[in-house]
């Protein structure tokens, strides 16, 4: 049975990486049709640029107490004003963005990582393992999260570091991803292509990593963005209550000090405005990215572009 060589097709294309490369290459087109994702990314990149490139332009040493004249409103010299301990607000924000994002990334990654592992194990294997995982996640979800965080954070002895607060937040960030990923895996597991994979001699782990996981990548991406957002929110909540890292100027701690020094009553609005404004931009950008990725993950939209 001769196959005519005249119809030579390009080499067989069958790897996760080929597909990912194709998708990334096509991402420009996606972005043009996905203004949410585009706008969200632009906002996030701008914020991160402020946090990473800012120290090159401005003197972040002025984020230390007693380094500038206290309680100055925004001026040409202090664009965002200064606060009562004698710190420059712009420097505080520039130092605070990477710290806060770091907490979010660590806690979000750990929470989603645990959730992904548990969700896949529970959803794919089923049985008693699944029952245990599902029950644990469900029970933990009913516990009021902030309360637990407060208790845990308050019981930490000595100085709290950025990494510690991230771990505390992560300890309660895994249940929601576990549950949603488990349900996604449950529905994917019933797809005919999973049976086909068994006929093709694939083992359980192979099916999870090569058949199921790639289809969940956009979903995992959206979940990660959501998890980072939730973690930042939880961390800011703890910090605003004074349970954060006292020696680090995270955005939440800046709010804590503003409360501590009654900034609002004293009319020092800029003390509030700077961290709250940055947090709002951060959340809006994360929300837009998550919504944009969701659109990308929606198979109906993907099929429409045949």
């Amino acid at each position: 049975m001769g196959v005519t060589t005249g119809t030579m097709a390009p080499a067989l294309r069958d790897s996760v990486f080929t597909e990912l490369r194709t998708r990334v290459r096509g991402a420009g087109g996606h972005l043009r049709r996905n203004p949410k994702l585009l706008l969200g990314l632009v906002m996030l990149i701008a914020l991160l640029a402020l946090g990473t490139l800012g120290p090159l332009v401005i003197d972040t040493d002025t984020a230390r107490p007693m380094s500038v004249i206290p309680d100055q409103p925004p001026s040409r010299e202090h664009l965002f004003g200064t606060e009562s301990q004698g710190r420059d607000m712009l420097a505080l924000v520039v130092r605070g963005i990477p710290l806060t994002v770091e907490i979010g990334l660590i806690a979000g990654a750990i929470g989603l990582g645990i959730g992904t592992v548990l969700g896949f194990i529970g959803g794919y294997t089923g049985g008693i393992v699944d029952t245990i995982i599902r029950s644990a996640a469900d029970i933990m979800l009913t516990v009021p999260g902030l309360l637990v965080l407060i208790v845990v954070a308050a019981s930490i002895e000595g100085l709290v570091s950025v990494e510690m607060i991230a771990l505390v937040v992560a300890s309660l960030a895994w249940m929601f991803p576990t549950r949603t990923i488990r349900s996604q895996v449950l529905s994917l597991r019933e797809r005919p292509y999973v049976e086909m994979a068994k006929l093709n001699g694939m083992s359980g782990p192979q099916i999870i990593f090569r058949e199921l996981m790639p289809n969940l990548l956009p979903y995992l991406g959206a979940s990660f963005v959501g998890a980072v957002g939730s973690a930042i929110l939880a961390a800011i909540g703890l910090e605003a209550l004074g349970l954060g890292p006292q020696n680090e100027p995270t955005l939440g701690m800046t709010i804590y000090w503003a409360i501590f020094y009654s900034a609002l009553l004293r009319g020092l609005w800029w003390w509030w405005a700077a961290p709250v404004g940055v947090i709002v931009i951060l959340f809006v950008s994360l929300f837009l990215i998550a919504a944009g990725l969701d659109e990308l993950a929606n198979p109906r939209l993907r099929r429409a572009e045949s």
Partner: protein, 351 residues
């Protein structure tokens, strides 16, 4: 007699427990050898147990009672190496020619995966040559197929790729579960023809599972009619369809709308299937509540399979004929097949 390739011994499959339990397949025995490649159609309506049968034969589910054996060994007791051979030798083609493709990958994925996992090729070039040959065998031009995503192809093309995939593994038996029911009429013929090519040129046997007797008639040598998990009638396909003997088979065949204006399809009045649960189903003949020839004995005990002229029929109307004992069956149906059809499939049916 040599050990059959795949054998079902008194297989019963029950889903659910207690009150809500449904018996999908009841005391089904069946064997398929490998001395001659054959095509056996298993036909029935929804709820007849035909899809359960397919999943049992593929080892996707385990029987509630009885055994499914691959080369003499219960599927649940296969060694690692035997299991591997079982997976390669017993393959499948499914109904949904879109769902079997992982939407993340190009269609290439479906073809390269079995080659990798079963180490069928020594190099990438060799793999490619095998894939192109298999695609050409089912009438596809590799250049038009490879590198595409499943949604860029037609249903007929997609289904033929799954046939090429099965062919790559050089299986002994393919379970084809409704392979054309989701494909347009104008593309069906190409798929059925590909199945016949695999059967005739590569010596691959088929279990063709369908609700559609017309395609069963077109490609199969043997035909088994299932009704509510029980064999109603079995025999050479042409014999069963042209001269149906079980009242259920007769009803089924009369119900197919054909282009024949004399069929009086709209006129004949048919008893409704006994809606809801039917106590008689699991002790008597499952068809008794709808049967125009029902007798008191039908309600009491399930009829055995009688060997009539040309077929095995589970109906007391044929109680004058000899019953078929298990063990005799290979010979009996083999002989029936020899008389009526091209092949000489070794098939065993018992109930």
């Amino acid at each position: 007699m040599t050990t059959p390739l795949l054998e079902l011994k008194h297989v019963t499959k029950v889903f659910g427990h207690g009150e809500g339990a449904t018996v999908a397949l009841s005391d089904f025995s069946f064997a398929i050898g490998e001395d001659a490649a054959t095509i056996v159609a298993v036909a029935g309506e929804s709820g007849s147990g035909k899809s359960t049968l397919a999943r049992l034969m593929l080892g996707f589910i385990s029987p509630s009672a009885g055994e499914v054996r691959y080369r003499g060994t219960d599927l649940r007791r296969l060694s690692r190496a035997e299991r591997r051979n079982f997976r390669r030798e017993i393959q499948a083609i499914f109904q949904d020619p879109f769902g079997v493709y992982n939407p993340f990958y190009r269609v290439d994925h479906l073809l390269t995966t079995p080659i990798k996992n079963f180490k069928l090729a020594s190099s990438r070039a060799e793999a490619r040559r095998q894939i192109e040959t298999a695609l050409a065998t089912v009438g596809l031009n590799p250049g038009e197929i490879l590198g595409r995503y499943p949604h860029q192809l037609s249903g007929g093309q997609r289904q033929r790729i799954t046939i090429a995939r099965a062919l790559l593994l050089r299986p002994r038996l393919i379970i084809a579960d409704e392979p054309v029911s989701m494909v347009d009429a104008s593309l069906r013929a190409t798929i059925l023809e590909s199945l016949l090519t695999l059967n005739r040129e590569f010596g691959i046997s088929f279990i063709y599972i369908t609700h559609d007797l017309t395609t069963a008639y077109q490609i199969s040598e043997q035909l088994i009619i299932l009704y509510r998990g029980v064999v109603a009638e079995a025999g050479p396909a042409k014999q069963v369809i042209r001269h149906p003997q079980h009242p259920y088979t007769q009803l089924l065949i009369r119900s197919i709308p054909t282009p024949d204006p004399g069929q009086r399809w709209m006129e004949e009045v048919v008893a409704s299937s006994g809606e809801g649960t039917d106590a008689a189903v699991w002790q008597g003949c499952p068809f008794a509540s709808r049967c125009p020839h029902v007798m008191p004995m039908c309600q009491e005990e399930r009829p055995p399979l009688y060997l009539t002229e040309g077929a095995a029929v589970s109906c007391y109307l044929y109680r004058e004929s000899p019953t078929i004992e298990e063990g005799d069956l290979t010979v009996t149906l083999g002989a029936l097949a020899g008389a009526g059809s091209r092949g000489n499939g070794s098939i065993t049916v018992g109930s």
